[in-house]
Amino acid sequence: MKQEPGLTIIAKTVTRISVWLIILYGIYIILHGHLSPGGGFAGGVVIALAFLNVMLTFGHETVTRWLNIDFLHDLEPACGAMYLAVGILGIAVSGSFLANFLNKGTLFNLVSSGNILVLNIIIGIKVAMGLFTVVWALALFRFDDGGEK
């Protein structure tokens, strides 16, 4: 039988279940960024760590086959551009850059605080995809012994 890349079947089975819980926790932290401690950066790092978990367990060849790396890599600058677009929409709607032009809602509701929720989601996706891309590139990188590449 051919040796599959990655760790043992025990680690793979546990990762298959636990990685969804980690991603869910990251999404929770991102969406509740304006209500409880956390926010886009923290939640994005949680999601990136979930991808890192998959990559450590299954090996980077499998991850490269499963995931559309091109799309994930393009998502990161796209979210940066969306942040700018929200800022420029602030000029158009409310008169100043990055103005909070959406409806504020009631305090302590999930959908409240206008722009902050939108920007949290954008930053979360951007941080998650950016860190995942770096880890993926590091996993693909091969060190040579002394000689040049």
Binding site: H73, L107, L140, R142
Partner: protein, 183 residues
């Protein structure tokens, strides 16, 4: 126990960790000792009632330790043996640090007491944040509303860092691992 006692305890723990990271012969042990320092910073943030910073610091510490282990585990870095005639330089450095400390005692006396900063800008945010932005988390409202332009800068810095990492590693996104090994 008051917060200061715990902070001094954590700080001494971090000092031991950083000295251990310098003195370890094994590279993996040194990386783990660096991780102790970061987790100490995270606990200090938590004790100073900044859970936002504590979460981010904790996660980034785990992330950086994993990346450092991944990057350095294949390399054979041997601990360089330091020459033994360093006593004169050590005495010089300790004397210089002592002189700086003696001259800065007056500065320490002039500092405001712990927890009572001179700047009172934060009081404005505490009073007006909830009704101006509608966010219950004041840190989030400052980062993304009052100081949204700074966050745009952070986003740009992150983008530049990732661009630099991909450029140095010279990996095209979407390239198959097999092709990359051949080239």
């Amino acid at each position: 126990m008051p917060v200061e006692t715990w902070l001094i305890f954590i700080l001494s723990f971090m000092l031991i960790g950083s000295v251990a990271a310098l003195e370890m012969k094994d590279l993996l042990s040194a990386i783990i000792a660096i991780g102790v320092v970061g987790l100490g910073v995270s606990m200090a943030f938590l004790l100073l009632q900044a859970p936002d910073l504590a979460i981010v610091q904790f996660l980034f510490e785990i992330f950086s330790v994993v990346i450092m282990v991944r990057a350095f585990i294949k390399r054979d870095y041997h601990h360089q043996t330091t020459p033994s005639n360093q006593i004169g330089k050590t005495i010089l450095v300790i004397a210089a640090l002592g002189a700086i400390f003696i001259f800065s005692i007056n500065v320490f006396k002039a500092l405001p007491p712990f927890g009572e900063p001179l700047m009172t800008t934060a009081q404005y945010y505490l009073d007006n944040c909830a009704k101006e932005t509608g966010a219950a988390n004041i840190v989030s409202s400052i980062v993304l509303d009052y100081r949204g332009y700074d966050t745009l800068g952070e986003v740009t810095v992150l983008f530049g860092a990732i661009l630099g990492a991909l450029t140095i590693l010279r990996i095209k996104p979407g390239a198959k691992p097999d092709e990359e090994e051949k080239s």
